[in-house]
Symmetry: C2
């Protein structure tokens, strides 16, 4: 069967350089954290109530590793049956047999699976009313993650870097804005109707609270006021992995643009060594602008996705992805991309495995 | 230059099966733990005082990752200048660019580098006077490590598994004896003069304390009474990695025989998928019997080492390895083996890098 088609956007030559060094060795790392921004009502889809969004990252990686959440006995879907994107990641990891680690850089609860702890359970603050991080935490998260990136990085290795943190597009937007990039109205959302006004209001309150004129020159100061524990950790891991000679596939949506922004302000060389692997749902989303963000921040970074769709899925919970729900997360798009590239998977092989896994987690037969 | 020579002992066909599946993908994991057995005076060389042996595993991996211990500002050598075997591991990892993780399954202190925590800081008890582990800890360590082995394992991957735990040969001996293997007088030591009588006395006290006739049929019961947090965790990781289709190189000395013994009692299939990678100093040690232990426990597992020697080293601290000090630890032998195999290193390339690193850590020029 024909391999599922890839779509490469942005600098094609960078992508060619990225893949020509080989795909023989791949390791993935999934970072989780929490930001209390996700508890602002209307901000995040990833949890049955705003408070429960704080548990989602831990439940996501427990499900990823064990096939079911462990801390709470729940089905990893919304009440309407829309599954966590970790479902796609789990399926892709299983098909491609990619070794992986889980990294906790600030989850509200400890995930009950083996994981690396970076930093010390510092949950991100609600940036509209308080700083994101205590003084000194941002550089510490960056440095610890950089060390981990160096441990896992090596010359012929490709590292896939995913994340789970509800509320993350808002803090990603705030980080980019604080570093001088226009990001308001350009980040994605797990809702079909992107709550741009709510996100903008959070940023405006945060800017008023901090009372400094933007852009800030000190990237750690920007992250401390406007960020979260996640993106600075991802940037540190990226920096360390690149120092060790690795290539890094940033597996995520518009949030990954804030990782590029942090790395850029540290003058990390990205060309031919970094790509964004995401989903069609992010790229096609009319309410956000990943390509514009990349063009403004790091135009040498290509954006790549596998062109699969769930519109013919036998479950409405999966078809919801085509209606704009969820879109991306837990490294889904990038992990699918690498699994397709390394195992020459066809669209049918991938979709069948997704349908089977969905059937397993919801415990029933196909609807149609 | 000629590749440094390998010596394959035991079942050569198993080793051929082991390597014929390729060495393109390697990931290493270094497990650390503590057992209070190391605080019995005369038991362990790995620490300036018996109490300080509890800190050695954390300092070892801090040095491995960062190039110097972090928790304490010490040079990673004995007072006489004999270096930790982590020096050899660090050099081999640097030459071969192997991605690696550190796993804490019961270190007395938290290592100040990114690491996976398995279990909850349960240090092994002094088995002569108390149980090694609380009820339930042994199966939990096994299962958590097995999960990690599954996360990192994959079909075409080779996992290198090393350890650091002073006192470990004594608990390894006790585990093997409790499972019905003759191990007294056959395990190695970091001392040139192996304290067999002391180890035997610890075992006898432990057997009298427990008051059950050996062998025990329940492997977790054996580990709970006579073991430590380390070996059961290594066995769990081994089991999980093999389930995921990996091969595993047990990088260590006679301690790894107790890992084989635990795996054997769980009927794990080892042939062609597991090898021991160790050092010449362990194999040539007249006071221990790694080949005899392997023959008794799992004769299908080959024992392999790189035939390098430090007798011409320009530092007495390194030459001490030829006088029977240290011998092995922190996965040194196996990591050297994989670095030689994957990068075709010559003996001179390896030794020069070792001398250079030793010079760096002791901060002076060559003695001769």
């Amino acid at each position: 069967m024909k391999r599922a088609p890839l779509v490469v956007l942005g600098e094609r030559s960078s992508w060619e350089r990225f893949v020509e060094r080989g795909l023989g060795k791949v390791v993935a790392a999934y970072f989780i954290a929490s930001t209390k921004v996700s508890t602002i009502p209307g901000m995040s889809l990833a949890g049955a109530t705003p408070e429960l969004t704080l548990y989602t990252p831990a439940l996501d990686v427990e499900y990823l590793v064990l096939g079911k959440p462990r801390r709470m006995n729940v089905v990893p879907t919304t009440p309407e049956g829309i599954p966590t994107p970790a479902l796609l990641t789990r399926v892709a990891l299983g098909l491609a047999k990619i070794p992986y680690v889980v990294v906790d850089c600030g989850s509200y609860v400890d995930p009950l699976i083996p994981h690396v702890d970076i930093g010390g359970r510092v949950v991100g603050g609600r940036i509209d009313v308080e700083d994101a991080l205590p003084e000194g935490a941002a550089p510490e998260l960056f440095e610890n993650s950089r060390t981990l990136g160096r441990m896992l990085g090596s010359e012929d290795l490709l590292l896939v870097l995913g994340e789970s943190m509800p509320g993350g597009t808002t803090t990603a937007m705030a980080i980019m804005e604080s570093l001088g990039y226009r990001a308001t109205g350009r980040v994605s959302s797990a809702f079909p109707r992107n709550p741009h006004e709510l996100k903008k209001a959070v940023l405006e309150k945060a800017v008023a609270r901090v009372g400094k004129s933007l852009p800030l020159r000190d990237v750690f100061e920007a992250v401390t006021h406007f960020g979260d524990p996640l993106h600075v950790s991802l940037a540190g891991f990226l920096a360390g992995a690149l120092e060790a000679g690795s290539r890094v596939l940033l597996a995520g949506g518009t949030q990954m643009c804030s990782v590029l922004a942090i790395a850029r302000s540290m003058e990390v060389d990205l060309r031919g060594r970094v790509a964004i692997g995401t989903t069609r749902w992010v790229v096609k989303d009319a309410s956000s602008d990943i390509l514009g963000l990349v063009r403004d921040i790091a135009p040498e970074v290509p954006v790549v996705y596998v062109d699969v769709e769930l519109s013919k899925a036998p479950y409405s919970g999966l078809r919801a992805y085509e209606e704009g729900f969820v879109k991306e997360g837990v490294g889904a798009g990038g992990t699918i991309l690498i699994s397709v590239l390394t195992r020459d998977l066809s669209e049918d092989e991938l979709l069948e495995a997704v349908y089977e896994e969905y059937g397993r987690i919801v415990g029933n037969g196909r609807e149609s």
